[in-house]
Symmetry: none
Amino acid sequence: MGKIDDKKKQKRDSLLGAAFSLFTSQGINDTSISDIVKKANMAKGTFYLYFKDKFDIRDKLITSKATQLFFHAAQEMKRTGMADSEATSLEDAIIFIADSMINDLNEDKRLLRFISKNLSWGVFHNFLMASDEENGYSFYDGYEIMLEKSGRRFRNPELMLYMIVELINSTCHNVILEQEPVTLAELKPELYNVIRDIIHRQEIAALG
Amino acid sequence: MGKIDDKKKQKRDSLLGAAFSLFTSQGINDTSISDIVKKANMAKGTFYLYFKDKFDIRDKLITSKATQLFFHAAQEMKRTGMADSEATSLEDAIIFIADSMINDLNEDKRLLRFISKNLSWGVFHNFLMASDEENGYSFYDGYEIMLEKSGRRFRNPELMLYMIVELINSTCHNVILEQEPVTLAELKPELYNVIRDIIHRQEIAALG
Amino acid sequence: MGKIDDKKKQKRDSLLGAAFSLFTSQGINDTSISDIVKKANMAKGTFYLYFKDKFDIRDKLITSKATQLFFHAAQEMKRTGMADSEATSLEDAIIFIADSMINDLNEDKRLLRFISKNLSWGVFHNFLMASDEENGYSFYDGYEIMLEKSGRRFRNPELMLYMIVELINSTCHNVILEQEPVTLAELKPELYNVIRDIIHRQEIAALG
Amino acid sequence: MGKIDDKKKQKRDSLLGAAFSLFTSQGINDTSISDIVKKANMAKGTFYLYFKDKFDIRDKLITSKATQLFFHAAQEMKRTGMADSEATSLEDAIIFIADSMINDLNEDKRLLRFISKNLSWGVFHNFLMASDEENGYSFYDGYEIMLEKSGRRFRNPELMLYMIVELINSTCHNVILEQEPVTLAELKPELYNVIRDIIHRQEIAALG
DNA sequence: CATGAATGAGAATTCATTCAT
DNA sequence: AATGAATGAATTCTCATTCAT
């Protein structure tokens, strides 16, 4: 019955696409289920066959969009050969990923507005921990592997990640959308310096 | 006719109080004007004599609550004698203020939820720049005076403040409300270290 | 699925009927959407499935009622054989139609009040030009055919019709509703004489 | 106490002026008592000291504005000497007055919209019959004197006036506001011809 | 599975009118 | 006489959700 499942997936994707387009252009509060199904060319009742309500579809969307961002960053890192280079420090890798995501969000301000406004640590954590269906390990697993590969040790890797993510998310939001209080180009070097500091502060000095 | 003005202020405060109580307990989206006036024991029309709409009263509330937090922190600093001591470094002062506010918010999680969710840099900036009616200078003025008194120079004081505020706001939010990924007690030292780093990174080394 | 369409038409008609009854008895301004749906035994939201707002249903009603009046007049003319008689002059035909409509409105003062108060030349013109779905031609087409059949020529047929319609509408309104300044019976002969004059004034004398 | 009366008249006029300005610019339905008193720089309660409600002030306004129009027309007729000339026929006089009023309304479309939309024969009749406080006779008296001076006799002078007034009012309204179906310049000659016809039809032929 | 008509509670907002000052 | 704060009924319109087809 793959055919039916295909059809179902198509409907679901259609609804997700319509919702994303509307959420990002008019905001979640101003988007009604009516709007979504109209845009997706479906009947109102159909929505409820796939999602519980507006917030259900919102959460599904955030996870999916955030995953895309990470994938893209990871791809870029591979493409540049950075991922495999011995010369790449942990700091460089993290900043590279952050930079890739920031650039993507800077290109797509609607996506930024949508993700940023709805990203709590809870949702983000779920996303971090969700293991990929295909290869069975999660983004957090990837993070830990990265740390391990660096051969360095850190006091609280999760807190470290938390502070980095929150700092990036909170400072970039307004800077990208409003160019206030500085431009993104001005923010970036300072931000990346602070990220280095955070990592440095968390490192347990290696034994001589 | 101070009597009438008194009554008006009373009504206004009544509405602000009712709105705050409802906003923090059920959220803004789930609070209607009806709810607010019912709680404030007034007729619906009266609301519109004092506020334009729900968002107007929300913004007024944030500003007023944030002001209270700052005032309390400043008072505490004076009370401890820290404000006047020569030994107090800029870092110490900023961290003291942050700590006082964080503690207050930790005591009043509803206030935290309310402020944090609705605090954009735009609103915060307005608040920072709003000059006090009594003595005619703003919180930002106070910040600049503090910097000056320290005798040190910084590359971009506004960006420095921005990063500190956003870092505090974003990391504390989830930690206080969910104790995730660490407890507040665990976060604080790390957070304050990073604040010191941010300040240090911004300082222009004094000439020998 | 004629069943569903039938039901929809029934609902629509129900709303139109309720609205007409209320508009004519208490006036449009004093009729709320609430009143209409209550009278039609429907939920408030249902109204908005069929009409945009009060003014939408009003315009639909005027057109529909005016069409009925015209149809009735045309039917009468056919019934009397007048339509086909060679002896019927253009003046006689126009006055016959006017007379039929005036009599109908005299019988149904509420309809008169409703139509008259809301009939602008704009709305009337739309109605005149709207081509019937069945046979595809409009009332104005009918008027032009009538002129042609008469074999006579007129300087400005549209202006001629405009003056006749406005004169009838404006003079009959008060006379029917208030019998002031004369009774309808007294007005009619004078009115019809003036209509003859209007037509005569507009005619281009045929070449000898 | 003429001073107090003066003040009262001033307030009343202020309200009338504000109301007229608002009625004509945004329509009666969209003008609230609030708007009126705000424009007149008065307190809300004051309105009710001078007028019963919105409709009261509306009727007072119409009468006053219509009176001004007539006065202006009469003045013009005197100014041109037409009023006293033996050569002026009744038709000429009536058409002169009509023309003057039409021109005034054409210059002030807001006034036209206001008067026309609210002018019923009832209101107009009241106005016609209202005797002037100063010289104690009414516009209708003036009309009768005009007829008498002409030395001609008419079957139903009131009906004659009624038809003329209604024809003018109803045909000019749309033509002035929308230039449809003809321009005012095109309408005028035809309209005045029909007025002549109406008068002619009403005349009782003088005995040889 | 899919539809979409129907629901009706509920939201925001306006405004004529009153009345204590 | 004048004020204007307060009222609260009334109105328009939206929308998540249901359910018969």
